[in-house]
Each structure stands twice: as C-alpha cells, then as structure tokens.
C-alpha cells in the first residue's frame, strides 16, 4: 500500500490567520518533512472565493513543491476540473509531469459550491457532462503528446485520478480508466461496492489502476490530544465545509459533524493500523492520510506526521 499525506489548501482560517506567502513557505517545509519521513507523496486541494484565501491554483503550488523536493510525488485531491479549460489543465499537468520526471498526479473532481460555478458563468447542473468532456480532452491531448514526441520513453503522463462519492462519478472514472479517490468517511464495505461499480463501467471490466482513500488520521495515546484533534476536525467539517454550504444557501452542516469519529482513524498506533488494514482488505491500495488540518497548529501537525511515519507507515506499507 502506498501512503501519502494530505491535504494542503494554504488556508488562513480565522483561528490561525496567515498570509498566502507564509502558508506557502510552511507548505514547502512540510513537504520536505513528508519526503524525509518516507511518505510516497503530498496532496493539495482547490477552492476559490472563500474568505480564508483557499488555494485556487494547486498546479502552480505543485510546481513549487516539485522543485524543492527530489523524490516526493505531488498530487491534487482534487482539482475542480469543470471550472477550468481542459486544454490548460492538460498542458500544465503534462508539463509538471515532464519536468519532474513523472512525479505529478492529477486528481480531479466535480466541485460542489454554487458560488464557484456561478462566478465563472457555469451552470452547476452541467458539471457532470463538462467533466466527461474534460476527461476525454485530457486523455486525447496527453496521448497526442506521447505519439508526437521524439523524446520517446522519457515522457510520462500524469497518473489520473477521479474523486468520486456518487455512483455516476465512479462509473465515469471507470469509463476513462482513471484511478479513484474515495472519501474517508466511508465504511470499507462501501469501497467494495464502488470497485464493483467501477469494473462494470470499465470497457474491459478492469479494476482501477489505483484506489486511493482520503482519511483523517492521527496517532496519539493521549486522550487530551485526541479530544483536541477531534475538535479541530469538527471545526474543519463544520466551519469550512458547512460555512461554504451556508454561503450557497445550503444548510451549514456536514455529516461528519454528528459523527466525527467515523471520519478519522485516531488513537494508539495499533488502532490506527487496524482501521487502515480494514480499508486495505476492501481494496484500497493508496492511503492519503489527512493529517494536515488548517485549524490545528503547525508544530502539532508536524509532530503528528513524524509519529505516523514512525509508528504506522512501516506496518501499513508492508
């Protein structure tokens, strides 16, 4: 099983305000730490027009990380593909992969905020059909670059992932032969169902090239720290995602708020490992351990990355 760390969005929430430049510098330090700790990769996310300055350009952020690291993979989980022109995304992501020797992974998702779509003059209701066309454009342009290149085997296209929760998204990923990024609030049984749906939609009945799961993770044996981490998680789910929904006229709730422990693997190393092993048995072969939380202090997150690397990583990678 591959193990990466996520998700960085360069936010400056009210509890921990900082400039975009400062957050960017912190992220590069975090990336070095993640690389030294032996993780496979680091993952970024995208939003726009939210008060905390959420990173609207993760492909650019990826470029900064790639030039500061040597081995670490960098991915987006997820980039909101229907909000962009697919040609720009295809070219930029191809170049990122090319210049980094294939260390870039492109994870894309539909996006869900009305406000983001409306600012760009896009009907949110069309996001599925737009995504379908965008995925086809990505594949065709990448293929054309490979075929038309004289650089031969030196070229690689980004690994393509689709963030999926609904059946239609899973089937879309299957049709395009993309890897899956699944939500961490799921039960392992849901993963099994999703993989079956994927294979049914795949033209060759093939399984996903990679099955990634984004799951909040935190290793601690302290009940006080566990409470602080869960509180930070609730803030993230309630204020970040709930706040975004409220601004769009929705209800300011997130399912994880009422059951935060269903969203996170937290506790002693053995408990965290056991929880991850359940997902591994269900077919997940890439864990994106969501340790970074913009509502938690940087020093605490960095220590948690180190603890996870020392106590969990060697066991679940094996």
């Amino acid at each position: 099983m591959k193990v990466s760390v996520g998700l960085w969005g360069l936010q400056s929430p009210w509890l921990r305000p900082a400039s975009f430049g400062f957050r960017s510098k912190e992220l590069l330090e975090d990336a070095s730490l993640v690389e030294e700790a032996g993780f496979s990769g680091i993952w970024l996310s995208e939003h726009r027009l939210w008060y905390d300055g959420y990173d609207p350009a993760p492909l650019q952020t990826a470029a900064r990380i790639l030039i500061r690291t040597e081995r670490l993979r960098v991915g987006t989980a997820v980039m909101l593909l229907p909000q962009h022109h697919p040609i720009t995304v295809a070219e930029r992501s191809f170049f990122l992969s090319r210049m980094s020797g294939g260390r870039f992974d492109l994870g894309v998702g539909l996006g869900y905020r009305n406000l983001e779509f409306d600012a760009l003059g896009i009907e949110r209701a069309r996001r599925g059909s737009i995504m379908e066309a965008c995925l086809a454009t990505l594949r065709s342009r990448w293929t054309a670059h490979l075929v038309g290149s004289s650089a031969g085997s030196g070229l690689s296209v980004p690994a393509l992932f689709v963030g999926a929760t609904a059946r239609r998204s899973i089937e879309r990923a299957g049709r395009h032969g993309a890897g899956l990024i699944l939500p961490g609030g799921w039960e392992p049984e849901q993963v099994v169902v999703a993989l079956s749906q994927y294979r049914s939609a795949s033209p060759e009945g093939a399984p996903p090239p990679e099955v990634a799961l984004i799951r909040h993770c935190w290793v601690t044996e302290s009940t006080i720290e566990k409470a602080a981490v869960v509180e930070g998680l609730v803030r993230l789910l309630h204020q970040q995602y709930g706040g975004m929904s409220q601004l769009d006229g929705g209800t300011p709730t997130h399912p994880g708020v009422s059951d935060p422990l269903g969203e996170i693997s937290v506790g002693a190393p053995s408990a965290v490992i056991e929880s991850i092993e359940d997902f591994k048995s269900a077919g997940v072969n890439h864990l994106i351990a969501r340790i970074h939380n913009p509502y938690l202090p940087t020093h605490m997150v960095r220590r948690a990355i180190g603890d996870f690397a020392a106590n969990v990583l060697p066991k679940v990678v094996a």
């Binding site: 400039s19 975009f20 430049g21 960017s24 590069l28 726009r48 027009l49 939210w50 008060y51 905390d52 300055g53 959420y54 990173d55 609207p56 350009a57 492909l59 650019q60 952020t61 470029a63 900064r64 790639l66 030039i67 500061r68 909000q83 962009h84 022109h85 040609i87 720009t88 070219e91 930029r92 191809f94 170049f95 990122l96 090319r98 210049m99 980094s100 020797g101 009305n114 406000l115 779509f117 409306d118 600012a119 760009l120 003059g121 896009i122 009907e123 949110r124 209701a125 342009r141 670059h145 290149s149 769009d248 006229g249």
Partner: protein, 264 residues
C-alpha cells in the same frame, strides 16, 4: 537600462535549479517567461515561473500571459497566487490571443481584441481585492445563472497579490497601438525588447542602439545550450558598460583582457 534573462524552454528541474542559482548570483534584474515560443507540452510559462520563483530570491519575475483566451477570473487568481508566493516579484506582460490559440480554445479569432480588453479590465478589478461585478460582451461576473440559485451579486477574489498594484505591461506590435484607457505601460520596442545574444561584441553594438532609443529593460535570450555560462559571461563583460553614464577606459580594458584570458 535594466537586464532580464529570457528563460529558455527547459523541462528539467535540475536545469531550472542551476538557472535559478545563476540568476541570484548574477546581475540580472528580471527573469522573463515568454508564452507560445515552443510546443505547449514542453513549456508552460506559469509553471516555469512558479518553479524558478521558488529557487530565486530577488529577481523580478516577468511573465507573458495570453489575456482573453480563457476565463479572466482564473487568470487573475493564477497571477495573484504567483505574486503572493514570490513575495511580490511579479510583472505581467499581457497579450492578445493569436489566431491559432483562438482556434485551439474554441474562441472566435475576430473577438481577440474585445476579449483582451475585457480580460485586462477583469484582472485589474479582481486584483483590487474588493467585491466587484463585471458585465461585458464575453463575460459576466458573477454569472447570476438562475439554475445556480439566488447568489450574491458580486464576487471578491480572496487570494490577494502581494503587491498593492501588480505591474501590468501590454504587449504591442510596435505599430503605435494605444492603451491610454488602461493606463498601463506598453512592452513595445521603446520600453522592453528581446535581444538574442550569441556574440558578446554584437550584443554590445545592439544594446548601445537600444539604450540610445530609450529601452528600459533589455530582455536577453541566450542559446539554450549553455545558458548559465552565457549568463555569467554577459554579466561580467557586457552589463557593467550600462551601469554608469560613462565607463572609464581602464575598466573596459581590464574587462576585455580578462575575457581574452578566459577564452570567452
């Protein structure tokens, strides 16, 4: 006169790291990323600028962008992020889309001018970091689409550029195009100019002419084979000539003797 390095189309992080180190150690004021000089797949100037911005500390980052080819709010965000990440070192050169770019992105080539003007206006409003709305022929921001629900009547870009006013240059073809309405300098022949350098003596002759005609920034493009060595030679033997109203003969003689000894 200031000097800028036109960054070659490199798709290798190690080469980019070497160029970054050389830029920091040399006398270049600017690194410049041109758009559309090579096959797109090999070179994305925005990504190149982000990467080189990360491994340089002082040079201004001049980036040529095509305004109007895609949604200008996305371009505004992209450039604001770059400016913030490089602590305010960004200089933007905006140009119209060319016919091949219009076709590629599915735009009407005859609308290139009007799309460009609207896009530049959106860039400026968005970078103001205040709530704004825009209604144009090509874009309405926010869209206020009925199916998206009853949303606010304005947007505010929340990634703020580091600079209070991001320098925006308009690329012209040198035929006297006017951009007074936008109140921005034109990166035309009289202000900033690209010079291909493969021979230092010829470069001096051309730079003398550029300096005499009021060029503010000479953007130097070297042969891509050995950019870092060429940069060093240029900064040793050429740029000092433009560092003072007059350079004493004794300094020039010494410079030339050193250059002969070094075999450059």
């Amino acid at each position: 006169m200031r000097f800028g390095l036109v960054v070659p189309d490199v798709a290798d992080l190690n080469v980019m790291r070497r160029i970054g180190a050389a830029v920091d150690e040399s006398a270049f004021d600017v690194v410049c990323f041109l758009n559309g000089t090579g096959p797109a797949a090999w070179w994305d100037p925005v990504v190149g600028a982000e990467a080189l911005g990360e491994v340089t500390t002082h040079a201004r980052i001049m980036l040529e962008v095509v305004a109007g080819v895609e949604h200008p709010l996305l371009l505004a965000e992209s450039l604001a992020s770059l400016d913030a990440a490089t602590t305010g070192r960004l200089e933007v050169i905006a140009r119209r889309q060319r016919a091949n770019e219009s076709h590629e992105f599915g735009n009407n080539p005859r609308a290139a001018d009007s799309r460009f003007s609207e896009a530049v206006e959106v860039l400026q409003r968005a970078w103001g970091c205040r709530p704004f709305r825009f209604t144009g022929e090509h874009w309405t921001i926010p869209g206020r689409l009925e199916s998206n629900g009853d949303l606010s009547t304005a947007v505010q870009m929340t990634t703020r550029p580091n600079q209070l006013d991001v320098p925006l240059w308009i690329l012209t073809d040198g035929t006297g195009e006017r951009f007074e309405r936008l109140g921005r300098p034109a990166a035309s022949r009289s202000r900033a100019q690209v010079l291909d350098v493969d021979d230092l003596d010829l470069a001096v002759a051309r730079l003398d002419r550029m300096a005499a005609t009021g060029t503010a920034i000479a953007l130097i493009r070297f042969s891509p084979s050995d950019t870092t060595a060429a940069m060093l030679a240029f900064c040793r033997y050429v740029t000092p000539r433009y560092g003072a109203v007059e350079l004493p003969g004794i300094v020039i003689d010494s410079m030339l003797r050193h250059r002969d000894l070094a075999g450059q």
